[in-house]
Each structure stands twice: as structure tokens, then as C-alpha cells.
Symmetry: C2
């Protein structure tokens, strides 16, 4: 018997009248008085369930509950009911796995809060919402890979374990194999990292950018796509201790090159998700945020606005809007400022460029004015910053000056400086957090619901 996915059946890939087998799990059961039951089955392949009509004389039918796994064989027919085009008339049904104590099954057919679902993260992909998030995440990730591949970028896996700290700031997780109860110490009584696995203090990466620059300085166009880590104790809906980042880096490019790349990447992946995940996006639009689809469509069809940070400050200062945080040249934009620019002023995604050098990282390229750097943040309506990027300082003498300003020793960055000493090139890139991107696409606000097993302060469950 041909085994098919529910996605294929609902797309009409199985001829009406043909007999096929479906594997899946029961979502609901409804018994009619006419001696048949209507079982809806999901298999994760798509948002919608398949309705299966089964004779009640099958001994197990009336014992089926949400979550039971089934193998069902039957004929695909056009559905007389509303809500689906095709359904299955079952000729054979087998229960593969029952549910222990259906009354206490954690994923009953009712609606559960997202907070509750995090406590059963191992079962939550069985829900409509987490299933939809999983498929959207997949489509976005695939589209990212396809986009960069077609643009001639090579994927690089930059290291997760590192002895250095990209930003020069930010709290990092330490990685060790030392016996922490009784660690080896040097004669002076300090912890002896020389005895550790790597022979020195080691951390989890906060960004692959510096390593990405090394590869861009040889392969021209590359990108990273991997997990990154922050040990900040931020208990907000926008922070994870472990999240996935995409970081392209382009040699022979200035900031505009990175901005153009970011805009075309976002448009490409938004188009992909709208076309591939229409069923899931309908769900997010109906149940989570009615604006999600229009927002993506607008983003696809609108040219992103471009503005200098200094002009953005002017706009904010001359607005009638009352802000909680101070607006002043030299201070970073806060969320409310960003939201004002995107939601009220431009009503479109906006690229803010050329920030004051003192609020940005040391590696960003110093502009000719001596007080700003070639940095950009891409702000999106409804969410704020979605991409941060910059042109990198390719001039070794200015890089050294910037390191000195921050009190960072140039020895530590010897290999990063080498990239400037040997055939240096102007280059630029940006970083995009995958979970925040999914938040923007789905309207689901909390990033903890957008990664399979979220890691946050005091939470490393499962």
C-alpha cells in the first residue's frame, strides 16, 4: 500500500478514489449516531489534519483519544463536509500506540497557554502552533541557505568554542573539563587552566563574525549559520542564552553592499515563507496577529528607507511624540525610538546608518567625520531591530587606534590584524538572529516559543 503524507493528500497529490496508507496521530474524534466516527489525524507534514471516516464496528474506534498513533488505510474521496477538500474513507485502521491516562495527557485537544507548553516542550510540537512555528522556521532556514547559495556565498561553520570575545563586551559561558569541586591550582594558588582540555580559558562564542572575516578575506562571499550564546541574565521575551545567528560577510564591499544584501535576503525569504507555508501563515494571521501576512507583503514590495543616525535623531527631536528615554546625539536608539521611526514616521522597514563610534563595536569602520562608524541597524515595523551590521575597519593603523581606545591589547587580535596586513580589502556584513526573525514572521512574541528547547536563566530543562 502506498504510504503518503497528509500534506500530499491535501495538496491533491493522491487521485480521488485511490487507496493509500497514512501514519499519524489523533487530534480529535467525533462520533456520529449513524455508526461512523470522524477522526482528524495530523502527521506534522502540514498545518491541516486529515479527516478520516471510520466505521464504529472497528473495535478500537470508540476508544481513540487525542495523541494516539495510528496507521490507517483507505480511499481518498472529495469531502462532503466543509473545512477540507479531501478526506479518507478508512478500510483498515491499526492503533500503533495508545495514550496512557488520556485524562491527564498533557496535550489534550483544548487550547493551552504558551507558558504551559514550555513546561512540556518535548510534547509541544504536537500542537498546532508549535507545529506551525517548526515548519516556518524550517522554511526560513532553507530559504536563507538557498538565497546565499544562489548569490555565490559559501557557508562557513565558525567555531563555537573560542578563547576570544568578539564584542569585547557581553557575558560569556565558560567551557571546561576541570574538576570544579577540586580544581588544579598553580603554585600561586590560581586556577590552573593549563590543565584544562584546551590548556587555556575557553568560552562559547557570542558571534562568528571575526572568523567569518578571515574566510571572506579568501573566499570573497561567505556566511555563517549556527548557534551563538549570551550569558546575560535577561529574562525578556527577546532574549535566549542559546540562539541561532546568520552572519554573511562580503569582501570588496562597503556598508551599502551589506544593506542591499540584507534587503534582498529578507525579501527573498519572506517570499519563500509566504509561498511555501500559506497554511501556517493563515493560522498565525487568524490566531496570533492579523497583520503578519500584510506586513511581509509590504516588506517585499517596499524599498527600505535609508537614513543617517544623525537625521534619525533630528526626526525624533522634532516629533511631537513624548518618549520615555532621552533622545540625544551620542545615545543609542531605544525600542520606542525605533518603533516611532518604523511604525509612525516611515511606515516601512528602515536602515539607520552611521552611528556614533562610542556606542558601537571597535571593529566597525571609522567614517571620515571621525566621530561615526559605518554601522547599520535595520528596523522593521512592529518589532524594531531585526538586523545589525557594519562595514569593518580594514585599515590596520585605525584598527589599532580603536583597539587602544578600548584598552584591548593588539596581541590578542594578532590574527585579526593579519587580515589587514596581508591583502586587506574593504568588507562588510551583518548579523540576523533567527528567532527574532521568526517572531517578526509569525507574530509570536516570545522567542522561547520559536526554538525547540529554549535555554534561559535557570532553564535548561529537557
Amino acid at each position: 500500500m502506498r504510504i503518503v503524507s497528509i500534506a500530499d493528500i491535501l495538496k491533491g497529490c493522491s487521485t480521488v478514489g485511490s487507496e493509500v496508507t497514512v501514519y499519524g496521530w489523533v487530534r480529535t474524534r467525533r462520533d456520529s449516531k449513524a455508526g461512523v466516527s470522524f477522526i482528524t489525524i495530523y502527521d506534522g507534514s502540514c498545518f491541516n489534519s486529515l479527516q478520516v471516516v471510520v466505521e464504529q464496528n472497528h473495535s478500537d474506534v470508540l476508544r481513540l483519544t487525542t495523541g494516539c498513533s495510528l496507521s490507517v488505510t483507505g480511499k481518498i474521496v472529495e469531502s462532503p463536509g466543509s473545512g477540507q477538500i479531501f478526506e479518507m474513507q478508512a478500510s483498515h485502521m491499526e492503533v500503533v500506540g495508545w495514550v496512557d491516562n488520556p485524562d491527564t495527557y498533557p496535550i489534550s485537544a483544548k487550547i493551552h497557554s504558551l507558558e504551559y507548553l514550555r513546561e512540556v516542550a518535548h510534547l509541544r510540537p504536537r500542537t498546532n502552533i508549535i507545529g506551525a512555528v517548526t515548519r516556518v522556521r524550517h522554511s526560513l532556514a532553507q530559504a536563507v541557505h538557498r538565497f546565499f547559495s544562489k548569490e555565490g556565498f559559501y557557508w562557513i561553520s565558525t567555531p563555537i568554542l573560542t578563547a576570544s570575545n568578539t564584542e569585547g563586551t557581553g557575558e560569556m559561558f565558560r567551557v571546561s573539563t576541570l574538576d570544579m569541586e577540586n580544581p588544579p591550582r598553580t603554585t600561586s594558588g590560581k586556577l590552573n587552566y593549563d590543565m584544562d582540555f584546551f590548556g587555556k580559558e575557553t568560552f562559547l562564542t557570542v558571534s562568528g563574525q571575526l572568523h567569518a572575516e578571515a574566510y571572506a578575506s579568501a573566499m570573497s562571499k561567505i556566511y555563517t549559520f549556527g548557534p551563538t550564546f549570551r550569558a546575560e541574565k535577561s529574562n525578556t521575551s527577546r532574549h535566549l542564552a542559546e540562539f541561532w545567528m546568520i552572519e554573511p560577510e562580503i569582501a570588496f564591499s562597503d556598508l551599502s553592499g551589506a544593506s542591499i544584501l540584507a534587503e534582498s535576503m529578507l525579501k527573498y525569504i519572506f517570499k519563500a515563507v509566504l509561498s511555501e507555508r500559506a497554511d501556517d501563515m493563515d493560522f498565525f494571521s487568524c490566531r496570533i496577529d492579523p497583520g503578519v501576512i500584510v506586513r511581509l507583503q509590504r516588506c517585499i514590495s517596499t524599498q527600505f528607507s535609508q537614513i543617517d543616525y544623525s537625521d534619525a535623531i533630528e526626526i525624533l527631536l522634532s516629533s511631537k511624540h513624548k518618549f520615555h528615554h532621552p533622545v540625544q546625539w551620542g545615545l543609542d536608539l531605544s525600542s520606542e525610538h525605533e518603533r516611532y521611526l518604523t511604525d509612525q514616521y516611515f511606515k516601512a522597514p528602515v536602515v539607520v546608518r552611521n552611528y556614533p563610534k562610542d556606542i558601537k563595536a571597535f571593529y566597525m569602520r571609522l567614517n571620515n567625520d571621525g566621530r561615526t562608524v559605518a554601522a547599520m541597524d535595520i528596523l522593521a515595523p512592529g518589532i524594531g531591530e531585526i538586523i545589525g551590521g557594519s562595514q569593518r575597519e580594514e585599515r590596520v593603523e585605525i584598527l589599532d587606534m580603536r583597539l587602544a581606545e578600548r584598552g584591548i591589547s593588539i596581541e590578542e587580535y594578532w590574527w585579526y590584524r593579519d587580515l589587514r596586513r596581508y591583502g586587506t580589502v574593504p568588507h562588510a556584513g551583518f548579523g540576523l538572529g533567527l528567532e527574532r526573525l521568526i517572531a517578526y514572521v509569525t507574530g509570536v512574541k516570545n522567542v522561547r516559543d520559536l526554538i525547540a528547547f529554549p535555554r534561559t536563566p535557570r532553564n535548561v530543562s529537557f
Copy 2:
């Protein structure tokens, strides 16, 4: 002026006679007495360099050395010389970045040992070999994503940070934010992990499989593709502390389903790399291992052999071959045994199935004989084990028994057991290490040369 990649020029995408601009780095310079110089330029987009013919009256030409970055504009012409179809007649050349002290440039045009190149890992992608490895790695990774996508699998990012240990064995890296010099202690004097970032002991994952099973139990077909970690002090050419793994998991599947999937995946990605990376594969075939291309072609066209572990033991026992390691039912196969099976006996990839339960992990499904489990290793000629997989134990009572045998508490695996308590299904999957796969494909033996910045005992440089 149109900016084009060298890959596009060499593929003939630029009409002969058209004028284009190329950005790249000098590989070699040869001066003719006729007043022109031949500069070969690479940009990482493909294996071969572009030959550029420049008049020596350009002031910088005779100062160019390996590694200088250039912008060159000129006409694409058919090359009169051998070795390339197209070359460029430069009309304008600009040096973007010089090389400090060309005499000590670490990546001079001569051939360097792979050991030396690891010491300059930030510059080694500028060499032919590491450039080729990078492009092959990219093509394999992309083909993996494409393969699973077209087969209806969803990509899941299973967690890197975990409080549990998949295999129940294997040394793990500990992750912490505690002040190790002066850690908080409980009243009994023990380290107080309650004060740590996650409030408990936390490690880097050794496999995403258990988490992958949770998602397969809802989405049916999923795969992971991410970094994994081993803290074993193995200083061999086949071990990395940080490496990338691909782990598909299929619901409603037995071991044969996983074996069929693995075979078609390998064939798909080998076809992709042969067709997309012909230039790089030619290099590996000429310079590293003359057998690489034929080996992949044979793997694509041969049906993989299938054999039970018990029969493999019989074959080894009855062979005339003298083995260093003992051959005995109940012992694991060593590399020499695997190599005998693939290289001498089958002369093809072979799937060895149904291993003794005591040498395999607790989660592998117990066969009816009570002494073997539904595990498989796929062995490839010339390299040995390339894939390891199994059907998972989906019967909660047998899982509990297996956990008890290993002395593992069932409480620790509460959520893993839940997958068996609620709509359990037969399921199977496998794991494939990306770097070992690249070793097989390229013939480059040491996995340290197959990942951008390798991490091994006492080495976390860059």
C-alpha cells in the same frame, strides 16, 4: 562596470570581448620580456584562478606579490595559452591592499604542509586545498539540506546546552558562569550549582538524537544539522572536540527505513558534489587521492550490501586475513575489520546490522533474539564507519529494563519515556559526522583540515 566572479568568467558567463571588473587576490605573477605581466588572481568563487594580462607600464605591476588584493577591469578574451579557456586583458588595475613584508607572508605561492597551515588557520582558506575543502563542505551541506527538504523532513535545531547526556557515556564539556576562582558552595561545602546560570550542572551536547525523537514523535520526519562536542582527549586524525553532525529521525520507520534513507542521502549528496564541484574534485583526485572520484561514482551506482553483525563475524573468522584485534561475537568491530569487509570482501559500502546489545546504547531497539539490537553502521571503502544509526526502543517497559541494566534512573529520562507513553511509534534514525564525510569525499585524511578552525585537545587557537 559589471563586477563578476571568476567562477562566472571561467564558466563562460561573460561574453568574449565584454569588459568587466574582477576583485580578488594575486596568486602568482610572471613577467614577460615583451612588456606584459601575467597575474593569476583568485577570488574563492571556484578552484581555478583567472589569468590577467597587464602592461608593465602600470606602475604597480612589478611590485605585486602573492596575496595582494586587486580590482582589475578589462576585456575577457579567449586565452591563447594552455591551462585556461578565458583570460582578461586588463585596461585598468588598482591595488586595494598590499602585503606587509612579502618575504615573510605566511601563504607564499609554494606548497605548504597541512600541519603548517593549521598554525595559520586564519589565512589558510587562501590556499588551493583549503579553498577547495571549503567549497566541497558547502556543497555537501547544501545538498544535505536540499535532500531532506525534498523528502519532507523538517530541520530542527536541537539544543547545544543540556543537562543530560545522550549516550550515558562519553566525556562532556561543562558550561558555567560561576566564578571558578571562588565558586559559591553549599553549606555542606559542595559546589553550589543552584547559583549557576541555569541553576544546575550544564554540559555541551554530544548528540541531538533524544531531542530529535521528541520532534519526530510529532512532525514525523525531521533532521538536525548542528555542532556537537566530545571532551575525549583523542589526538587522532579522526577526532575533533567540536564537529558538525546530521541526525535524521523518522517516525513510523524500522531500521530498514533508516538504512534506505541513509543510502539515498549519500548517493544524492555525492552526485551533487561531483556535478557542482568538478574543479575541486579534480584537484583532490590529482593531488590528494587518485581514487576519490571513482569511489564516489561507485558508491552512487552500487547498491549497498547488507549484512548482519553475526554474519560479518563469521566472514572475518573464516577469512585468511591476520587481524591485530580479536574477532569474537560480542566484541565491537575495529577499523581493520571494517576495512576488510568493505575493501576486500564486499568492495562496496556495506550496512552492518543487529549488533550485540551490550556494545550499543540503551535506546536501541531490542531484537526478538533478546541479545542483539536494531543498530546499523554503514561502512565505506577506504574510510570505515561513516554512518551509525538504529531503530529506537519505542516500548516503554523494555526501555525501562534497558535503563535499569545500565543503572540509569528512569526519572532522569521522564520526558524521553513520555514519548513512549503517549502515542508511541516505531522510529529510527542515524547520525553522520560532516567532517568524516568530507574526508571520504576529498581524500584529505585529517579532520582538522576539514573544518574552518579545528578544536582539539590543547588547541582552541583563533
